[in-house]
């Protein structure tokens, strides 16, 4: 039941500069499409795929879609929902499918989750499967890992990602390393998720970006969702994965609305998303900064630039394939992230790009990150801690000079 679907507009999107790669991809996608029995096609959740004039429709989209639906492509309207509802949908579908999937965290049960991601699940599945834990991150994360060693598939919810710093030992030593130190005997199919990032004046301790701390832990995978479509897909993929996955959500993105397909779909954990193909510069981003970048992209397009925006989604490992193809096309890279400057995801990505694609770069890799300061409470100061669209526009202009 293998399904990889490379998007019908795949070949058109890539220019002749990368023709070799695109042919390979095209051939691959054709072969894979013909190999599978059912048709499945939900390429873009807004369903605007078939309008040929719209440039966005021709982008390379890589989605792994599961089974069924011999229905006509892209006419299913799907349903509209908010990001936290998409997460809940994904979670519920997986809990329905596999009795070993369980959730544990603070206030996930009776309260319904502090961001309503687990609302009503306790009524449906019971108190043991949607477990309200006491405020003891270190031990309930450890408990989830111990349960995973026996074959359960727990999902640990950190009420705020910052609280999971208390569980760092469990995540690093037990979660990440047990598969290796036991010589492959134990798998830890745990999902650790929670909202992080800078919110609206939440204060320094509640505005942390832990992806920079967790990125060096060997044995874990990290993904960051940014839209309802990829939130549901990544949630399902993370639950089905045999590896421990940390799913980073963002406090400010929970109320984003989008139309997502009715059919079941799962996204690839290690793949980046092409948000907007372009020619002049590659902008790599993830999570909330995607929206700042798209806002800046509007201004840039008016000014005559053509940025290619990629939502990297997979923070560990990086999807160097998609990123590489983009760099080979545009020769300029701008990374926009919400992590701190020192030791953040952008820092690692800069190093990786410089190492692998140095010959393709026409300009140094520029990384726009948050300032190396604790997030202040004052609104204006907080605004300047993170990267703003105006800064992105300036950076692109400077790079593309």
């Amino acid at each position: 039941m293998a399904v990889v679907f490379q998007g019908i507009g795949a070949t058109a999107a890539l220019t002749s500069a990368t023709s070799v790669d695109s042919k390979k991809l095209y051939i691959l996608s054709r072969r894979l499409v013909s190999e599978t029995k059912s048709t499945f096609m939900v390429v873009r959740s807004d369903g605007r795929l078939n309008s040929g004039s719209n440039r966005r429709a021709q982008k390379l989209i890589t989605n792994a879609v599961a089974t069924k639906a011999d229905s006509s492509p892209a006419t299913k309207p799907g349903h509209e929902l908010l990001l936290f509802e998409a997460l809940r949908e994904g979670l519920e579908e997986e809990m329905e499918r596999d009795a070993r999937v369980c959730v544990m965290g603070e206030d996930v049960g009776h309260y319904g989750g502090s961001y309503k991601v687990t609302k009503d699940l306790a009524n449906k599945y019971g108190d043991l499967r949607v477990l309200d834990t006491p405020i003891a991150e270190n031990s309930f994360t450890g408990m989830a890992i111990g349960a995973a060693m026996t074959g359960l598939r727990p999902i640990v919810e950190g009420m705020n990602m910052g609280f999971l710093l208390l569980a760092f030992n469990q995540i690093s030593n037990n979660c990440g390393m047990l598969h290796y130190t036991s010589g492959g005997q134990f798998t830890i199919p745990v999902v650790i998720r929670g909202p992080g990032g800078v919110g609206r004046q939440l204060g320094a301790e509640h505005s942390q970006r832990l992806e920079s701390y967790f990125q060096s832990i060997p044995g874990i995978q990290m993904v960051a969702c940014s839209t309802p479509y990829n939130a549901k897909g990544l949630m399902k993929a993370a639950i089905r994965s045999e590896n421990p996955v940390i799913l980073f959500e963002h406090v400010l993105l929970y109320n984003l609305k989008e139309r997502i397909p009715d059919e079941e779909y799962i996204l690839n954990l290690e793949e980046a998303e092409m948000v907007r193909p372009g020619e002049h510069i590659t902008i790599l981003t993830y999570s909330r900064m995607r929206y700042h970048v798209m806002q800046a992209a509007k201004t840039l397009v008016n000014k005559g630039y053509d940025p290619e925006v990629i939502d990297i989604r997979s923070l560990k490992p990086f999807d160097l394939h998609t990123i590489g193809n983009s760099v080979k096309k545009t020769h300029r890279v701008l990374i926009v992230e919400e992590c701190m400057r020192t030791g953040g995801i952008g820092a690692s990505l800069t190093a990786a790009i410089n190492e692998y694609f140095h010959d393709y770069l026409d300009a140094p890799v520029v990384c726009l990150s948050s300032q190396d300061v604790p997030t202040p409470y004052a609104g204006t100061l907080e605004e300047w801690t993170v990267v703003q669209p105006t800064q992105i526009v300036t950076a692109v202009e400077q790079l593309c000079r």
């Binding site: 039941m1 293998a2 399904v3 990889v4 390979k24 991809l25 691959l28 890589t62 792994a64 599961a66 043991l128 499967r129 477990l131 834990t133 006491p134 003891a136 270190n138 031990s139 309930f140 994360t141 450890g142 408990m143 890992i145 111990g146 349960a147 995973a148 060693m149 026996t150 074959g151 359960l152 030992n169 469990q170 030593n173 037990n174 598969h179 290796y180 130190t181 036991s182 010589g183 492959g184 005997q185 134990f186 798998t187 199919p189 044995g219 995978q221 089905r240 994965s241 045999e242 590896n243 799962i266 690839n268 954990l269 290690e270 490992p317 999807d319 160097l320 394939h321 692998y356 694609f357």
Partner: protein
């Protein structure tokens, strides 16, 4: 080899009697028939529970098994000591000799479906759970055929099929994992328990109390066992804990204090604890035990305690000696036979070491295996990835 010789002797008709054979018949004919009643060295002390009785029934076979298992464990640890000094074992090596009764007694009370998780002093518990000497020594020497393929080391022995969950280096971190094992058992509605072992040093960790709170809240079948050898590395228990009565530390969770040098006391306590945990939730067992070696091989073990103390415990409370005395006093075997068993074990251990030494080092490609599970089927080969494949399960 000596054992096969003996069994062929047994098959000979009685008329071909040799004085040797008659003692053998005594050894093996009283296998399961007679029940022997032993008493534990000291009565149990309970906290919020009624302690089990002091008298335990056992059989000669069990006594001999205890003797053999403990002698094997003792021999393995001493051999590991020499191997460490010969620089064949590197890094940290924490030895368990002196504490064998806990491992052996616990195994006798439970099944392989019950889980055990412990900290870094795990060689003997691994053996008790069904690990072989060869697996242990090859892992200690970092060879490919070790139980963790040479990638774990002394502190990371695991045996999934017999419910041994390791083998953990960070003090106290295994207790929440143990609670997780109990959670999974409750979730899957199995009638099994999880034993989470920790030391007197780890008893002061906060995550222990967090875990205990959760276990008590949800009635998880978890048994927390404090192997109190009275020294947390170099710090004596009275210098580290305001209340060294670790079995009482659970407050609302019942506890039992057990003489950890008496294998039968341990067995009785574990049986009691298992019944309790399946009905009422968590219970704490404090095993009063002692380690002869230092904390690890880099610790001489005599800077914070006197040699008189160590030899005193060895003389009065040694677990192996206790079983030996029981066997001799009940005429189950002669002193010579026990010595022969010990010689045999020594030979077994030496052979295992020889076999382990021949095992090759792991292949360099092993560096990258088992970091991730390729469960989801997606393969990425770095920047030059040639294929993108996603296979849904």
């Amino acid at each position: 080899m000596a054992l096969t010789h003996r069994s062929t002797n047994l098959l000979k008709p009685l008329s071909a009697a040799v004085p040797f054979t008659s003692s053998l018949r005594r050894l093996f004919s009283t296998d399961d028939a007679t029940a022997i009643t032993v008493e534990t060295s000291v009565p149990f002390t309970g906290h919020k529970c009624d302690p089990p009785p002091r008298t335990i029934d056992t059989t000669p076979k069990e006594l001999m098994t205890f003797f053999r298992d403990m002698a094997t464990m003792r021999r393995m640890e001493i051999a590991a000591d020499s191997l460490y000094k010969a620089k064949l074992i590197r890094g940290f090596c924490h030895l368990y000799d002196g504490q064998e009764a806990v491992a052996v007694g616990m195994e006798a009370a439970i099944t392989k479906k019950d889980c055990i998780i412990t900290a870094y002093r795990d060689h003997c518990i691994f053996l008790g759970r069904g690990g072989t000497l060869v697996e242990a020594f090859t892992e200690l020497m970092g060879r490919r055929d070790g139980c963790s393929r040479g990638k774990g080391g002394s502190m990371h022995f695991y045996k999934k099929e017999s419910g041994f969950y390791g083998g953990h280096g960070i003090v106290g971190a295994q207790v929440p994992l143990g609670i997780g094992l109990a959670f999974a058992q409750k979730y899957s509605k199995e009638e099994h328990v999880a034993f989470a072992l920790y030391g007197d040093g780890a008893a002061n960790q906060g995550q222990l109390f967090e875990a205990l709170n959760m276990a008590a809240l949800w009635d998880l079948p978890a048994i927390l066992v404090c192997e109190n050898n009275h020294y947390g590395m170099g710090t004596a228990e009275w210098r580290a804990a305001k209340s060294p009565a670790y079995y009482k530390r659970g407050d609302y969770v019942p506890g039992l204090k057990v003489d950890g040098m008496d294998a039968f006391a341990v067995k009785q306590a574990c049986k009691f604890a298992k019944e309790h945990a399946l009905k009422n939730g968590p219970i704490i067992l404090e095993m009063d035990t002692y380690r002869y070696h230092g904390h690890s091989m880099s610790d001489p073990g005599s800077t914070y305690r006197t040699r008189d103390e160590i030899s005193g415990v060895r003389q009065e409370r040694d677990p192996l000696e206790r079983i030996r005395k029981l066997i001799l006093s009940h005429d189950i075997a002669t002193e010579k036979e026990l010595k022969d068993i010990e010689k045999e074990i020594r030979k077994e251990v030496d052979e295992a070491i020889a076999q382990a030494k021949e095992s090759p080092m792991p292949d360099p490609s092993e560096l990258f295996t088992n970091v991730y599970v390729k469960g989801f089927g997606v393969q990425s080969f770095g920047a030059d990835r040639k294929e993108v494949r996603a296979i849904l399960p």
